[in-house]
């Protein structure tokens, strides 16, 4: 008997046919989506939307060696963060911030990052609430393929800080190859292709998910209130995937800056060189994903907060070094710890430059984005929650001024997250809880 089996994912057999009829959709000329000034515009004539990214590195910086001496513009970068020089004009530095514990136990290497991402410091490490990117996501209401993309550079899927609700942190992807396949594998529609053919297979997949989503109300009626939130979050995830498929069925708006990056071989691990390689690949993949309109929110974590980054031949990992390396009395600091922190800063520059290298009209991808760089401790050696180093890069499409050093005086670090929410147009009078609740953004950086 002739084998009539066809694999449902074999797009080639199905492409171009929907019940036998071909659908070919033409696209307009790309240049018509640049205005007179060459600024990038979306197909509907609106400016390209802002993007948000978070970038986490564990174990902070060496205190008193990274804070610029002057505030506002024109500050001089101290030697400890001199590697930020190439991005200085598109960067803001925030010093003097802290995360308040309000009498709760300091969950070392967690409470600080948690406070900045969620506005809440919980009593136990098992609790974690919605992170503020979810608030920005609701504000953006983005028609994107992926609600967000999350990556970890140390091979640990649990090392991130983003959470959709109060039911656990989002797992992060650890493999650049997997992320590449996810974005550019099946379902990717090049916005600059001249023809567009909706895939009938994707239509079916979408309708299947849509049918499953219809079970939501029936199930929600019968579960306890604790479980309702978890079930609701599952159905929201299901709807996200349904919307991803819907996105793949829509003719994409042309985006001249979109191109598919190449991928090098991956070598996942915790050696600094491995983390750098993984991070560099993720940086390229994420920057191109934003330029191709695949997402507007991303999260990068260099490694978990108990950073396991390692130097060649060094028996102790980064986290262990912060507690074990003696302070060099002549230098006044822990030399290896300082060196590792500086390497982390170098990685941040690579991400920001990857975004700044993508030209969109007269601006760059970075210009319409903002990357929020945060850490877990002001001084990791002492698990200090004071003087947390925070950076933002990019101006969110002109909504943020850049090149500014903001020297706070013990303010809640949540002010940065609140400021970014304001930059994205979130209407809210306050964010955070207890002493981490803030009502005032840093107006000096808001445009």
């Amino acid at each position: 008997m002739k084998n009539k089996h066809r694999k449902i994912s074999r797009r080639t057999l199905l492409r171009g046919t929907l019940n036998g009829s071909a659908i070919v959709l033409g696209l307009p000329i790309l240049d018509s989506f640049l205005n007179d000034n060459g600024t990038a515009f979306a197909a509907d004539g609106a400016a390209l939307p802002p993007c948000f990214g978070s970038w986490f590195w564990g174990l902070g910086l060496t205190p008193d060696r990274w804070e610029p001496k002057t505030t506002g513009r024109g500050f001089v970068l101290p030697e400890h963060i001199a590697s930020l020089k190439p991005i200085k004009e598109k960067l803001n530095i925030y010093s003097g911030l802290q995360v308040f514990l309000d009498g709760k136990v300091n969950q070392n290497h967690m409470s600080g990052a948690q406070g900045q991402m969620t506005g809440i410091v919980t009593k136990t490490s098992a609790e974690y609430d919605e992170s503020f990117d979810a608030i920005i996501d609701k504000q953006l209401g983005a028609n994107v393929r992926f609600r967000s993309l999350e990556v970890a550079c140390d091979g640990n899927a649990s090392s991130g800080w983003s959470a959709r609700g109060s039911n656990g942190k989002t797992p992060y992807q650890i493999s650049p190859l997997d992320l590449y396949t996810r974005i550019y594998g099946g379902g990717f529609q090049d916005p600059n292709q001249t023809e567009f053919i909706p895939d009938p297979e994707v239509m079916v997949r979408r309708s299947v998910l849509s049918a499953v989503t219809e079970q939501r109300q029936q199930l929600l009626k019968s579960v306890s209130s604790d479980d309702r939130s978890r079930l609701d979050e599952y159905f929201t995830s299901l709807r996200d995937v349904e919307q991803k498929l819907a996105f793949e069925l829509d003719r994409p708006a042309p985006l001249p800056a979109c191109s598919v990056p190449s991928l090098e071989s991956e070598d996942i691990g915790t050696m600094v060189s491995q983390v750098q390689n993984t991070h560099r690949q993720f940086a390229q993949l994420l920057a191109h994903a934003l330029a191709c309109g695949q997402t507007r929110i991303f999260h990068v974590t260099l490694g978990n907060a108990f950073s396991t980054l390692r130097l060649p031949g060094e028996p102790s990992a980064y986290h262990a070094l912060t507690h074990e390396e003696p302070i060099d009395t002549a230098l006044g600091y822990q030399p290896k710890v300082k060196q590792l922190a500086e390497q982390c800063m170098g990685f941040f520059v690579e991400l920001v430059q990857a975004m700044d290298a993508i030209q969109e009209g007269e601006g760059t991808l970075l210009d319409r984005s903002v990357v929020f760089a945060f850490t877990d401790h002001g001084e990791a050696r002492l698990h200090s929650m004071k003087n947390m180093p925070v950076f933002t890069a990019g101006s969110a499409g002109g909504r943020l001024k850049t090149g500014i050093h903001v020297a706070a005086e013990g303010d809640a670090a949540t002010r940065v997250g609140f400021t970014l929410q304001k930059a994205f147009g979130v209407v809210s009078n306050r964010w955070g809880t207890e002493s981490n609740e803030v009502t005032q953004p840093f107006s000096e950086v808001l445009a």
Binding site: N3, K4, H5, R6, I8, S9, N19, G20, N106, N108, F146, R147, D154, G155, A157, S158, R164, G168, T170, Q173, P200, E201, V204, R205, S207, V208, A211, V212, Q215, L219, K221, S222, V223, S224, D226, D227, R230, L231, E233, Y234, F235, S237, L238, V241, K244, G269, T308, R310, P312, G313, P315, S316, A317, A320, L321, H323, E325, P326, R381, H383
Partner: protein, 562 residues
């Protein structure tokens, strides 16, 4: 052992579904419809749900569709440990968009394999009259049969109709009946009814103010607890008949499951959880510093531990305590090289890894689980052993004790100051560290255990010196002196906390929640009895499975009344 493995494979290779191809009796559907009409309002309320682990997902697919179905990838990629167990954490978790995305792709791939022309004949009892259009009856039959196994309960008429509708729509769009069935199958496999164990409850007739798991949820709890997989056809049949709701029928099923070789799957899953095998996912022992610790060694070490436990607790029917001073294990050539012992090599070129039973001589430093590469490497730093991590692991994973986090202003600089001639060994450095009053409280609990294991480096290789100084393995356990790991193992073995921890953990693993005060009382009594009679795995599993409270829904988990 080979015979046993092949029996498991045989069962799986055929797939429960292919084996069974049951024609559902009208009773099943009637029960489901009754639930829909009456029960869902009051008597059969979904109370809570637990996410399937990646292994449970894989086991269920293999059992339902046959082991030849490849499960390429994981849907969920992370978990949280709660009350000492990842299994309990699954009750807290949901699925993120990226995880649902993965599960949808996995489902597509699996559905494609299941309905491949070479397989579909064994799974479908009907042949569509026209492969280009929907055969309503055939589709309903397929959905009804597969749905029973995927959802671990019969589908209601409305549910069957809904999935037939998916099949109809897909058949019309793609012009192929089997594509339609694939679509329906994908729909069932991304449904919360499959990806979560939804536990429904009914009022307890003996105590109407409390609720107990209904017959189908009992089957699931029992099956995932004892076999780490979806209920077998026999168990589903017992659920359908209602016998699981009564002691006699329940005990018969427990007895049947206990004597099956599949009990090893459940044992392996439990110990992989209790012993924190999730740490293997991020284990990164530095191969430059420890060249013998290769990826193969890592994989084989993991298997060595599970093989040893299964052999002791199931084949030899040994007491749990024996795991800590047993000298019997299994080795491969690579592991033997790392352990530094000779074994006969019987590996043929390109052949499978040969496992050779091995017994260490008396007074050898390798004694019990604590001296295996798994424990030693999982609780080390990438480039150094860690008495503190190892001691903490014994306290938390084996004794169910909680070690509080270190104080914020901690300074361990002495611990790594190997240039100081007074602090050559980690014992010297930690002793100094323990003199710090803010650290001593917890480190006194952790470090002595770990220091006895300092004769094993981060990769598990045996050594007698550190930086040229002899390693001192002596210490005190509960007021009693020991000089080395052998004596520590003997003291640990006698400590009631060790067995109490196992009893409590096993129960929590089964219920995927913390115990109620009533349950704690029962567990304490059970522990005392077992300690006198012998803490044997099958006996423990049996007692837990027979305990009525094991199927009771704690008040805090109960759904709100409508």
């Amino acid at each position: 052992m080979k015979q046993r493995i092949s029996r498991i494979k045989q069962l799986r290779a055929t797939g429960l579904l292919a084996m069974m191809l049951i024609c559902l009796s009208p009773n099943i559907l009637n029960a489901a419809e009754n639930n829909e009409r009456n029960g869902s309002k009051k008597n059969n309320k979904e109370v809570t749900f637990v996410r399937l682990s990646s292994d449970q997902y894989r086991n269920a697919i293999h059992d339902i569709f046959g082991e030849s179905i490849l499960v390429r990838g994981n849907g969920s990629s992370s978990g949280v440990r709660e009350a000492g167990l990842m299994a309990v954490g699954e009750r807290r978790l949901t699925l993120s968009a990226s995880e649902v995305e993965s599960y949808e792709l996995l489902a597509l791939d699996i559905a494609n394999q299941v309905l491949h022309p070479s397989r579909r004949r064994t799974l479908l009892q009907c042949t569509p009259q026209n492969e280009k259009t929907l055969d309503n009856e055939c589709a309903a039959q397929f959905i009804t049969t597969v749905g029973l196994h995927l959802f671990r309960r019969p589908l209601s008429k409305n549910e069957i109709d809904a999935y037939v509708e998916i099949a109809r729509s897909a058949t019309e769009s793609l012009g192929d009946f089997f594509f339609g069935l694939q679509a329906a199958l994908v729909g069932m496999m991304v449904s919360p009814d499959f990806l979560f164990r939804i536990e429904r409850s009914v009022p307890n007739p003996e105590s109407p103010s409390t609720r107990q798991l209904d017959t189908w949820s009992r089957a699931s709890r029992l099956s995932f607890f004892l076999w780490d997989t979806t209920p077998s056809p026999a168990l589903l049949e017992a659920a359908r008949s209602g016998e699981l709701m009564f002691d006699e029928g329940l005990n018969q099923q427990i007895e049947r499951m206990m004597t099956s070789p599949r009990i090893e799957d459940g044992l392996r899953a439990f110990f992989a959880d209790m012993l924190a095998f999730d740490r293997f996912d991020t284990l990164d022992i530095d191969s430059n510093l420890y060249p013998r610790f290769t990826k193969n060694v890592e994989d084989e070490a993991r298997e060595q531990t599970l093989l040893t436990i299964a052999d002791q607790l199931l084949n030899k029917k040994a007491d749990y305590r024996d795991l800590f001073d047993s000298r019997q294990t299994f080795l491969t050539p690579a592991l033997a090289a790392l352990y530094g012992v000779p074994i006969p090599i019987r590996q043929e070129l390109g052949g499978k890894v040969p496992w050779v039973p091995y017994e260490y001589p008396e007074n050898h430093a390798r004694v019990g689980l604590l001296s295996q590469v798994t424990f030693l490497s999982l609780f080390s730093h990438p480039g150094a052993s860690s008495p503190t991590l190892r001691g903490k692991a014994v306290r938390e994973h084996l004794l169910c004790q909680i070690i509080p986090p270190p104080p914020p202003d901690v300074d361990f600089s002495l611990v790594r100051d190997t240039d100081n001639p007074n602090f050559k060994t980690v014992r010297d450095r930690l002793t100094e560290h323990r003199n710090n009053p803010t650290c001593s409280g917890c480190h006194t609990l952790m470090d002595p255990i770990g220091l006895a294991l300092e004769v094993f480096d981060a990769s598990g290789v045996y050594r007698t010196t550190e930086n040229g100084a002899d390693i001192d393995t002596s210490g005190q356990w509960a007021g009693q002196d020991y000089t080395d790991v052998n004596e520590l193992a003997a003291l640990l073995k006698d400590d009631p906390t060790l067995t109490s921890c196992l009893v409590h953990r096993a129960y929590n693993y089964g219920t995927a929640r913390a115990s109620t005060p009533t349950e704690v009382q029962w567990l304490n009594t059970t522990h005392t009895q077992l300690r006198n009679e012998g803490v044997r795995w099958r006996e423990l599993m049996q007692r837990i499975s027979r305990n009525p409270d094991f199927y009771t829904v704690p008040e805090s988990s109960m759904a709100e009344e409508q």
